[in-house]
C-alpha cells in the first residue's frame, strides 16, 4: 500500500508541478478541465454512432482483413477507409480488457456499462492528439507579450479549439472520433505553417486514409503544395516563377502520399477488393439531403420549391393532383421530390461544389499569400462542399469552423465571420441531441462557448469598433426566440402532431441563411485580401 501511495504522490506531484512552474500552465489547466467535463458526460445519451463504432471494433477484432469490407451482419457496415479500421483494430485489443462481449459481431446494440466506459474513454484519450495539435498551432501565432492572459491570442485559440461546442457534443455526447481526426488535420496545418511541408503532407494523407470526408479539402492542399512548395520562388509581385519548379520536391511529396495510400489500400488491392471497398466508402444511394436538412443551399432550394408549390396551388397555377406526394409531407422522407424546381442529381452537386471552390483555388494559385491564404482556401473548400455537397450531414460544418478559429484570432474581419459562422452552425447542431436530458447541457455549453468567443474576440480586437454589424447581431439574437419556439412552445401546440417536422425545417432554413452569408463574406475577404497582405509584407 505504501508503494501505491508513493506512486499516487508522484503522479499528483507531476500533474501539479506542471502548472506551478511552467509558463504554459494554463494550457494544461484548460486541457485537463475539458477532459474532466468529458468524463462527466460518459453516461450521457449516445446516438447510433456508438453502435457503429462498437460494430467496427467487433468486426476488425474477430474477422480476417479480407472480410472487413464484406461483413454485413449489422446494418452499420464499415464505411471508413482502411487506416481507421486499423485504428479500431488497435483499440479492440484494449477493449477486451473491459468487456469481451462487445467484440462479438452478432451482439448487436450491445452497450454494457463497461462497453460505454471503454468507448467513451477511447474518445477522450484519443483527443490527446488534438491537444498536441492545438499546442503546435498556438506556436504558429504571433504572441503579444505582457498582455493579460485572457487577452492572449494563444489562450483564446486554445479555448476556441479545445472547448469547441461542436466537438464536445458531437464527440462526447453524440459519439464520434472527430477530436482525434481534427487533431491530425490541425497538426498537419501547423506543420505547413512551420514550413515542415513533408510532415504536413504525410499527416494529411494519413488523415485521408482515416476518414475520406477530408477529400473535400484536398484541393486546397494540392494546389497549395504545388504552388508554394514545389515552386520554390515567386516574382516580386507574388506571381508564379515558372523556372523555379523543383522536381525533387514533387517526387518526394508524391512518394509520401502514394506510399501512405499503398500501405492503407495495398492489402485490399492485392486481395482484389478495391471496388468493394470503394463502394462502401462512397454510397450514392442516399438522397440529396439528410432527414434533417443541413443548413446549406439545398435547404434553401427545398424551401423555395415548397413555397412555390404552395403558392402555385393557391393561385391555381399548379394542379395539386399532379404534384409528387412526398413534397407535401416533406422533411421526413429522405428522397425529397421537388415539385416546381428541377430535381438535383449527384453530378449537379459535384459540379456546383467544384464551381464554388474554383475561384478560391485559382486565387491561391495566382497569389498564394502564404499559410494564411492556404488556410482561407481550405476553409472555403470545406464550406463550399458543405454548401453544395450531396447528402451533407450538419456535422460536416466542423471542418470549416475549426480551421477558421485559427484565422479568427489573427484578423478582425475573420473574427466577425467566425462569430457568425460558429454561432449559426453550432445552433444548427442542436437537433443532433433531441433528448430532454441533454437539453440543458447543450444550452449551457452553447452559451458557454458563444459568450466566451464573443467576449474574448471583442477584447482581442478592442480597437476599431464592433465585430458584428447591427444586422448580424439581430440575426444572431433571432436564434434565441427560434430556440424557444422550436423546443419549448411548438411541442405544446396542436401543430406538433400534424407538422412535426416544422421546427427542424425552420431551424435549418434560418441557419442556412447565416451560413450562406458567412460563406459569401469569407469569399469576398479571400478575393479582396491581396492588398492588405502586401502592406503587412512591406512592414
Amino acid at each position: 500500500m505504501s508503494a501505491t501511495s508513493h506512486l499516487l504522490k508522484v503522479v499528483i506531484q507531476t500533474v501539479m508541478a506542471a502548472p506551478m512552474t511552467n509558463d504554459q500552465s494554463w494550457f494544461y489547466a484548460l486541457a485537463l478541465g475539458v477532459s474532466f467535463l468529458k468524463c462527466l458526460l460518459i453516461n450521457a445519451y449516445h446516438s447510433t454512432d456508438f453502435e457503429v463504432h462498437r460494430n467496427w471494433l467487433a468486426l476488425t477484432h474477430s474477422l480476417p482483413v479480407s472480410q472487413w469490407y464484406y461483413e454485413a451482419t449489422s446494418e452499420w457496415t464499415l464505411d471508413y477507409p482502411p487506416l481507421f479500421a486499423w485504428f479500431e483494430y488497435g483499440l479492440s485489443h484494449i477493449a477486451c480488457f473491459f468487456d469481451k462481449e462487445m467484440l462479438v459481431v452478432p451482439n448487436l446494440n450491445y452497450a454494457s456499462p463497461a462497453t460505454v466506459l471503454f468507448q467513451r474513454l477511447s474518445v477522450i484519450v484519443a483527443d490527446v492528439v488534438f491537444f498536441y495539435a492545438v499546442k503546435e498551432c498556438c506556436k504558429c501565432l504571433r504572441e503579444d507579450k505582457g498582455k493579460d492572459l485572457l487577452g492572449k491570442p494563444s489562450f483564446i485559440l486554445t479555448v476556441l479549439l479545445l472547448w469547441n461546442f461542436g466537438l464536445l457534443i458531437v464527440d462526447h455526447i453524440h459519439f464520434q472520433y472527430n477530436g482525434f481526426l481534427f487533431g491530425v488535420l490541425l497538426l498537419s496545418i501547423a506543420r505547413h505553417c512551420q514550413n515542415r511541408h513533408f510532415e504536413g503532407a504525410f499527416l494529411f494523407s494519413v488523415l485521408l486514409n482515416l476518414k475520406h470526408i477530408y477529400l473535400y479539402i484536398a484541393p486546397a492542399y494540392g494546389i497549395y503544395l504545388l504552388r508554394c512548395f514545389c515552386f520554390t520562388q515567386s516574382n516580386a509581385d507574388g506571381s508564379l516563377q515558372w523556372r523555379s519548379f523543383s522536381v525533387v520536391r514533387l517526387v518526394i511529396l508524391g512518394t509520401i502520399v502514394l506510399s501512405t495510400f499503398a500501405v492503407s489500400f495495398g492489402p485490399f488491392i492485392a486481395l482484389g477488393q478495391l471496388p468493394q471497398v470503394l463502394s462502401r466508402l462512397f454510397p450514392f444511394k442516399r438522397g440529396l439531403c439528410h432527414a434533417y436538412w443541413a443548413p446549406n443551399i439545398w435547404a434553401l432550394y427545398n424551401i423555395a420549391d415548397k413555397a412555390f408549390s404552395i403558392l402555385g396551388v393557391k393561385f391555381r397555377l399548379l394542379d395539386i393532383n399532379k404534384l409528387p406526394k412526398a413534397s407535401m409531407t416533406g422533411g421526413l422522407v429522405q428522397e425529397f421530390q421537388h415539385s416546381v424546381l428541377p430535381s438535383v442529381s449527384p453530378l449537379a452537386t459535384l459540379v456546383c461544389t467544384l464551381l464554388s471552390i474554383l475561384p478560391a483555388l485559382f486565387k491561391i494559385w495566382h497569389r498564394p499569400n502564404g499559410a494564411r491564404g492556404f488556410l482561407r482556401c481550405l476553409v472555403i473548400c470545406a464550406l463550399g462542399s458543405f454548401m453544395f455537397g450531396w447528402h451533407v450531414h450538419e456535422k460536416a460544418i466542423m471542418m470549416a469552423i475549426l480551421p477558421l478559429s485559427l484565422l479568427a484570432v489573427d484578423s478582425r474581419k475573420d473574427a466577425g465571420i467566425f462569430l457568425m459562422l460558429s454561432v449559426t452552425s453550432h445552433y444548427s447542431l442542436f437537433p443532433l441531441l433531441f433528448t430532454t436530458q441533454e437539453l440543458p447541457i447543450k444550452i449551457f455549453l452553447m452559451l458557454l462557448f458563444t459568450i466566451f468567443s464573443l467576449a474574448s474576440l471583442k477584447t482581442l480586437f478592442r480597437k476599431g469598433g464592433a465585430l458584428l454589424n447591427p444586422l448580424e447581431v439581430t440575426y444572431l439574437l433571432g436564434l434565441i426566440p427560434l430556440e424557444l419556439i422550436c423546443e419549448f412552445v411548438y411541442p405544446l401546440t396542436v401543430w406538433q402532431k400534424t407538422f412535426p417536422f416544422l421546427p427542424l425545417m425552420l431551424t435549418s432554413v434560418y441557419c442556412a441563411l447565416g451560413v450562406t452569408y458567412a460563406f459569401i463574406r469569407l469569399y469576398i475577404s479571400l478575393l479582396t485580401c491581396s492588398d492588405t497582405t502586401k502592406k503587412t509584407k512591406m512592414q
Binding site: 500500500m1 501505491t4 501511495s5 508513493h6 499516487l8 504522490k9 499528483i12 506531484q13 500533474v15 501539479m16 502548472p19 506551478m20 500552465s25 489547466a29 485537463l32 478541465g33 474532466f36 467535463l37 468524463c39 462527466l40 458526460l41 460518459i42 453516461n43 450521457a44 485572457l150 487577452g151 430532454t436 436530458q437 440543458p440 447541457i441 449551457f444 455549453l445 452559451l447 458557454l448 459568450i451 466566451f452 464573443l454 467576449a455 474574448s456 477584447t459
Partner: protein, 488 residues
Amino acid sequence: MENWSLISLCVLLGLTARWAVSFHSYSGAGKPPMFGDYEAQRHWQEVTYNLPVHEWYFNTTNNDLNYWGLDYPPLTAYHSLVCAYVAKLLNPEWVELYASRGYESHSHKLFMRATVLFTDILIYIPAVLLYCFYFCDGSSKQKVATAFCILLYPGLILIDYGHFQYNSVSLGLALWGILGLGLGWDLFGSLAFTLALNYKQMELYHSLPFFCYLLGKCIKQGLTWRGFFHLVKISMTVLVTFALCWMPFLSDPKQPLQVLHRLFPVGRGLFEDKVANTWCSLNVLIKIKTLLSRETQLFALTLLFVLPSSLKLLSKPTLWQFKLALVNTSLAFFLFSFQVHEKSILLVALLVFFVFRSMLPLLLKDGLLLPYVVTSLAFLFLSLYLLSALERSTEEELRLGLYRKLTQRWLPKLNLSRIIKWKFWFSLAAMAALSFTSVWLKPPAKLPDLFPVLVSVLSFLHFLGFIIYFNQVQLMEPQRKKSQKKTN
C-alpha cells in the same frame, strides 16, 4: 474580458458540471423496498399533495411514518407541495397516493433533477456570487476565481445532484443570511436565516454564531435605548417568520409538538447497520452512517469548541469574527472557510477535501464513483491552480505564530510551512490510496469494515486538527488588526 462575461462563464460551467453529474445514479436507485433519499423526497411530494396539512407529520392510515415519514421542518414540506403541483401537471402518476411508492422512470428522474437545478439557480448561485463580490478581498479576477471554486465545490454537487437532496436551498438561504448581516441589513439577514432554519433543522449548527453576533452587536450599541430597539426589531422578525412558517400547525398544540418530535427524534438509531459490530464501541464519535448522522455526532464534539468562540464573538461582534465563528461552530459550513481563510487556502482546500472524502462510503453505495473521482480531481486541481495555494502558504499567512513559538523551544530549526506542505501532499496521497483500496480491494475477512473505518479515522483526525487550528486563529485574532480592517 469584462467581469460580466467571466462571471457568466463561471456560472455556466458550474451549471454544466451540475447537470452532467445528474446524469448518474441517485441514492437507492432500483433498490426496493426502501429505496433512498430520492424516494424520500418524492414520497414527501406525494404525502403533502394528497393529505391535509394536519396529517403530514402524523402516523395515520394514509401516512405511514415508517416509510420515509416527513422529518424536516415545514418549509421543506411546502417546497415538496409546490414540486408536487408541478409533478401533477406533468404526470399524475408521480404523486399518486400509495400507487406511486418507489416510482422510478427516466422522465421522473429528469423532473426531480430539474427541481434541484431550479432552486440552485434561484437561491444558491446568486448568493454565492454576491458573497464573493462583496466579502472577498483581492482583484475582481480573484473574486471570480473564488466564486468559481465555490460553485464547483464537488461535495455539494454530488450530494445534491448525485445522491439527491436540496442542500443548496438551506445553504443558500443561510448564505443570504450572512450576506444580510454583512451588508448591515440585520433584519433581512435574520429573515433569511430563519427561513434556512425552517427548511432544514441542520442549520441549527450555524444559529449560535448568528445569535451571538446579533446580540453582541445590540449590546455594543447600548442595551438601554438603540440597541434594545434593534434587538426587539430582530426578534420580532424572527418570531413573525417562524409564526408564518408554522401557521398551519398552530391551530392545535399537538401539531407543533409532533413536528418537533419528528424533527428531533430522541430514539433515532445512529448505527442501524452495525449494532453488534466490535468496531462500533471504538468509534462512537467517528463512524459515518450518512452525512446527516455524522453531523449529529460532530455536534457533541463541536459543542466543546463552541463555547470559547461564541463568547469571543459576543464580546467582539465583527464580521471577521462572525465568519470564523461559523467555521468553528460548524465544520459542515466548510464552504465559508474559503473566505475566512483565503490566504491559507492550502489548509482549507484540505479541510474541504476531507469533509468530502468522508462521504466516499456513501457515494460508493449510490454508484456515484465516476462523478466522485472526476469532480474531486477537477476541484482539487482547479482550486490549487486558480488560487495558487502552495505558493502562498508562508508561515505568516497561515497564522502559525503560536505553533512556531511552541516548537521553537524544542526544535529551533524546523520550517513549519514546509512541514505543512509536505503534510498536505501526504494526506492527499493517503486519502487517494484509501479511496483506491476501498473501491478495488476486498477487505480482509476478519475486518469487513476496515476501509470505511480507516477513512473515518483519518478524516476525524483532520477535523480535530482543523477545529483546534481555527479556534486558535479566532482566539489569537486581536493581535492581527490588519486583516481585521481589511475584512470589515
